[in-house]
Assembly symmetry: C2
Homo-oligomer: 247 residues x 2
Amino acid sequence: MRVITLANQKGGCGKTTTAVNLAAYLTLKGKTVLLVDLDPQGSSTTHLGMDKNTITKTMNDVMLGRHNFSDIILHTEIQGLDIAPANNDLGEAEMVLTKQAFREQILRTKLANLDSYDYTVIDTPPSLGNLTMNAIIASDTIIVPIQTQFFAVEGLAQLTDLLDVIAGMGYKPKRRYLLTMHNRTRVISKRIAESVRELFGEDVFKVVIPDTVKLVEAPSYGKPICLHAPQSPGARSYEELSKEVIL
Amino acid sequence: MRVITLANQKGGCGKTTTAVNLAAYLTLKGKTVLLVDLDPQGSSTTHLGMDKNTITKTMNDVMLGRHNFSDIILHTEIQGLDIAPANNDLGEAEMVLTKQAFREQILRTKLANLDSYDYTVIDTPPSLGNLTMNAIIASDTIIVPIQTQFFAVEGLAQLTDLLDVIAGMGYKPKRRYLLTMHNRTRVISKRIAESVRELFGEDVFKVVIPDTVKLVEAPSYGKPICLHAPQSPGARSYEELSKEVIL
Ligand SMILES: Nc1ncnc2c1ncn2[C@@H]1O[C@H](COP(=O)(O)OP(=O)(O)OP(=O)(O)O)[C@@H](O)[C@H]1O
Ligand SMILES: Nc1ncnc2c1ncn2[C@@H]1O[C@H](COP(=O)(O)OP(=O)(O)OP(=O)(O)O)[C@@H](O)[C@H]1O
Ligand SMILES: [Mg+2]
Ligand SMILES: [Mg+2]
């Protein structure tokens, strides 16, 4: 099973949008996929049309050892795409884990027992705490969404430092970078895209996700873009991404 | 002295952009303003053209009692606008404060000794931890930037809950809401704007900040919008905001 984590402590850069739409397109390509929502905001859970306030068993229970994945997994309207949901309760695990030993390997151990999926895609919160640490350590690939806006590159040093610390512990997931919310008419977008490709070379995905309203609308309909607007540029770019990921 | 905090744990919603540009326009209206950067990302510090990696005394020192505001305050290129800078060091205060008593009133006490400014504007990180708690308790007004996108309204409940807890402690700053990154051509923007006005009525500023590239570019030139593109729609909307704030 491949495990992919979306991580970047910069808020609003496209982690949830990418996790949900990549997971959906991997499924359409014939893979079985588990989407793990590890963000107490529960955005991935909401994005797939679930009511996070009525869900009683969440990733909080898995991280605190009260339940296994099989107890909390829900099917979605896309055949082959399941979700391990989250809501605000997950804030408890972030705090409790601070005081435990070996707290950063919980998710890795729990996922090791799950082998009925081809891919696990993990959405993380906009902070570099215990939950994000657990996700990175459980993964073989980290995808870092980078908005093509000024502050986007500034904050990468903190994430890179954390990845280096984790590499020192012996966990060395591949690092891939995805340019998102790209607006071809804006010079700043091109400038940032060029500097990111200079910095990270081949590790940057060839596909660039455009800044497009259909990706903003999709979550309000509780659907991934492949169901909300399958012919749109946003949908095609996430389909491209799924092809590059599978390679 | 009036104290205004920009707060919203949703990342990338325009806290820094609003803090910097509101502070700049208040200064242009003849007020003396201190901009306090309380975000370890140091975005406000960078946005005003400072190199956060060469600054040795920051808000971290003020929050940990090692320095007073007067030891760390820097002048900016706008006459009448000063900044209390931040960088990654500030992450230390967030952690240390967790273990101290009366930790949430430190900023309020430190600001009480400063009376040479008409306004203090505080930028906060995208989380509801000790730093944001300190900023809220020190303030008479909280401005919550709300992007006119789907997830923007979802996460407000957590911030409202925190404000209610703080109100229970006897600190009741006014709550004002600012619609930002508004794109007139997108139906979703209009829908969100309408539902925010229904929810919060008169507490929503009349001015709406448009989604405009000049506001994305300005930080990469280290300048507020009033210097980078003073005639642009983005500049005019922040000037409008400063007028509404002064009223
Ligand atoms: N390519 C895109 N074009 C236009 N808008 C986008 C795009 N990708 C994401 N968005 C919008 O930007 C906002 C932030 O995206 P998203 O929620 O995916 O980011 P995030 O990194 O998960 O945020 P958080 O840090 O809060 O978890 C959302 O309103 C989303 O609809
Ligand atoms: N009105 C606007 N139009 C277009 N882009 C904007 C606007 N306001 C902010 N932005 C851009 O959106 C991104 C996020 O804005 P900003 O950094 O102000 O948000 P923030 O809430 O301070 O983020 P963080 O949560 O990381 O502190 C920046 O790249 C900024 O340039
Ligand atoms: Mg998210
Ligand atoms: Mg900010």
